[in-house]
């Protein structure tokens, strides 16, 4: 009974993440790759994402500091982050990455700075929400492997 309740909470949290635009369809694709041989695949990939993206964001911070107005360099780093976001369905972070890249294209340093702050905020929020989600799934137990809602 408790496990069923936890699964419901996880499903509800995931739905809210989609409804609020934090995640897109690609996240379902990642979860769909889970099976008995790889029951924690989605959590492992998400964990890789946050480890990798933290490194890339640090590179961006350093690039902004060491290479002022080097928009090509800044853009190259952000392209990398955007790619990872696309791969796991991190929609809002991806959108802020796009915004940053647009400012790079306009050579608008202030815009880049503002946008980068948004990237970091969205990244932190998503990390917290996905940690909660996977914690619920772990507590729900093996039968709590995430499934796609009907009709998706």
């Amino acid at each position: 009974m408790e496990h069923a309740n936890l699964r419901r909470q996880a499903a509800s949290l995931k739905k809210s993440l989609f409804d609020q635009g934090y995640l897109d369809e690609q996240f379902y694709q990642v979860e769909d790759l889970q099976d008995e041989a790889n029951p924690n695949f989605a959590e492992e990939v998400v964990s890789l994402f946050f480890k990798d993206s933290a490194r890339v964001m640090l590179n961006i911070e350093q690039a902004i500091e060491k290479y002022p107005r080097d928009f090509a360099r800044w853009d190259a780093h952000m392209q990398q982050l955007k790619g990872s976001c696309s791969s796991i369905g991190a929609s809002r972070v991806k959108n802020e990455c796009t915004s940053f890249r647009n400012f790079c294209g306009e050579e608008n340093a202030e815009g880049c700075m503002r946008s980068f702050q948004k990237v970091k905020r969205e990244h932190a929020v998503l990390r917290q929400k996905l940690e909660s989600y996977f914690q619920l799934l772990r507590q729900a137990g093996p039968a709590g492997i995430a499934t796609r809602p009907a009709g998706k």
Partner: protein
Amino acid sequence: MAACRSRGVERGVAPHVLAVDDSSVDRAVISGILRRSQFRVTAVDSGKRALELLGSEPNVSMIITDYWMPEMTGYELLKKVKESSRLKEIPVVIMSSENVPTRISRCLEEGAEDFLLKPVQPSDVSRLCSRVLR
């Protein structure tokens, strides 16, 4: 999936695909998709490592590589494979997060079997299986 198993492979042995991507996230995702499609997968993080593996592993059925990688791009890896008398018959598929027509045509002209936009979907791999590994 029967078509996937038929290409020069012993009965019951899954085709071996070499996945090349400098992104750990993308390596994990493409490997997951390929394994779900019953391929045996080796994933490496660079063109250099890919060439090292190709030098020692004789039975690679397909290479799927990211385009944009540091030091050696997927395009450069493609060229090296197609220039090799030993490797040139291995189908090479390029992946990229950017839809750049000149990039796509350049890769196809160089001999790439296909060019996939990231994020790669299972349906992309199914299509590859039936077309590239027939």
